[in-house]
């Protein structure tokens, strides 16, 4: 079981992802609605894994990833992207993301990745 922080500006996506994670025995310890919120919740909650959406207002997921890696360079951040954001995925890997998930969510893909990296 992993303690997970979900970062996504879409409440729909957060709910779908949260349900899949909980149904598969993981604990969602927090939710953040943009990059800034994510950094603050990361410091506060110290999660095992962060799922980080890329396209968000205020501060996007790539910027938040960089800042989280500065706080803890062994943080496990899984980027969440709509399909078609290959360039951003390459950047995310460069900044230290361990994996990426694509929307629309598929339960098997999510659980496979979370179980692999936890």
């Amino acid at each position: 079981m992993a303690k997970i922080l979900i970062v996504d500006d879409s409440i729909t996506s957060r709910k779908i992802l949260k349900n899949i994670l909980i149904e598969n025995g993981h604990e969602v310890i927090g939710e953040a609605i943009n990059g800034e919120d994510a950094i603050s919740k990361f410091k506060e909650l110290n999660p095992d894994i962060v799922t980080m959406d890329i396209t968000m207002p205020v501060m996007d997921g790539l910027e938040a990833l960089k800042k989280i890696m500065e706080i803890n360079n062994s943080a496990k951040v899984v980027m969440v992207t709509a399909a078609g954001q290959k360039t951003k995925i390459v950047d995310a890997v460069k900044y230290g993301a361990v994996e990426f998930l694509t929307k629309p969510f598929e339960s098997e893909q999510i659980i496979g990745i979370i179980n692999k990296i936890q």
Binding site: I11, T12, T55, A83, K103, P104
Partner: protein, 294 residues
């Protein structure tokens, strides 16, 4: 999908009632009978099919075997007809007959009227009957709209995949100004700029919000709008992923929503009416032109 179009047409022409149409849509679980298919495919006349049906009641033999024996059909034709038994169009026709709403002659005549009234060519009518969405979309949408044609097709396929597989697409048209009660939209930037939105009355957008979030929304509140926005985001992501193979790079901006406003562009707004559960939502696409919302 043909059933929805033809059913809608029969309703409009007062050939059936709303209750009958609901019943027909429920009835369509059984496979179409060979005689009905053979007439629909114009391999038998209604009279020949009726004769074979009468004969079948007297002898213990299959419809196809009797038709071959009588010299009306070839074995290969029977085999071909058997492959069509699950076709939704034929199941719709079968339900009309089983419910004694129309006989084969009347159906044939109504389909001819439907084709003429809708201005459909034989190929377009065949596309509708096939139930194949890849063939149906070009009947209603100009697929050659530079850059946007594929995007529109993909949004429709994704509505069928994630929202509802019983939708009705109406002929698309173009405007440069569009007023909406509610809209969820996203702008894509990069090699090309694209505006993709879904607009309509709240009741219509709820038919997208609820199935996508797998949650029953009663009003278009922030969460319901978020669901429609996220659907557009996912769909656009799949589109971006498709066109990247042609070295076209676009990026999604955060989706937004709005109420009771007008959008305007110097270019064209492609409007594709999509009917989901009887409510109309318009898919709006603008290519490479600034869109102003006020």
């Amino acid at each position: 999908m043909f059933g929805l179009y033809f059913g809608d047409y029969l309703l409009e022409k007062n050939k059936i009632s709303h209750d009958q149409l609901d019943e027909i849509m429920k009835e369509q679980t059984s496979r179409a009978k060979l005689g009905v298919i053979a007439v629909a495919e114009k391999l038998l006349t209604p009279k020949q099919a009726e004769e074979l049906n009468d004969l079948q009641k007297k002898v213990d033999s299959r419809f196809g075997d009797i038709a071959i024996e009588k010299g009306y059909l070839l074995p290969e034709e029977v085999n071909y007809l058997l492959t069509l038994q699950g076709n939704p169009y034929l199941k719709f026709i079968q339900a009309l007959i089983d419910m004694n709403i129309m006989n084969l002659d009347e159906i044939e005549s109504c389909i001819e009227d439907f084709k003429n009234d809708y201005g459909l060519s034989d190929t377009e009518l065949e596309a509708l009957k096939s139930g194949d969405i890849d063939r149906i979309i070009p009947v209603f949408i100009d697929n050659n709209i530079p850059f946007a044609g594929d995007c529109i097709s993909l949004v429709i396929r994704n509505i069928i995949r994630f929202i509802n597989n019983n939708i009705l697409i109406k002929k698309s048209y173009k405007v440069n100004k569009y007023s909406f009660p509610s809209i969820a939209y996203q702008q894509l930037v990069g090699s090309h700029e694209l505006f993709v939105g879904l607009a309509g009355e709240d009741e219509a957008l709820l038919n997208i919000a609820s199935p996508f979030a797998k949650e029953k929304f009663l009003v278009m509140d922030e969460e319901a709008f978020d669901s429609v926005c996220e659907f557009i985001n996912c769909s656009n992501g799949l589109y971006a992923s498709k066109i990247i193979t042609d070295d076209i790079h676009i990026d999604m901006t955060p989706p937004k929503f709005d109420k009771n406003k007008t959008m305007e562009t110097e270019g064209e707004i492609h409007v594709v009416p999509i009917i989901i559960c009887g409510k109309r939502t318009d898919l709006l696409v603008v290519v490479d032109k600034k869109v102003e919302i006020y």
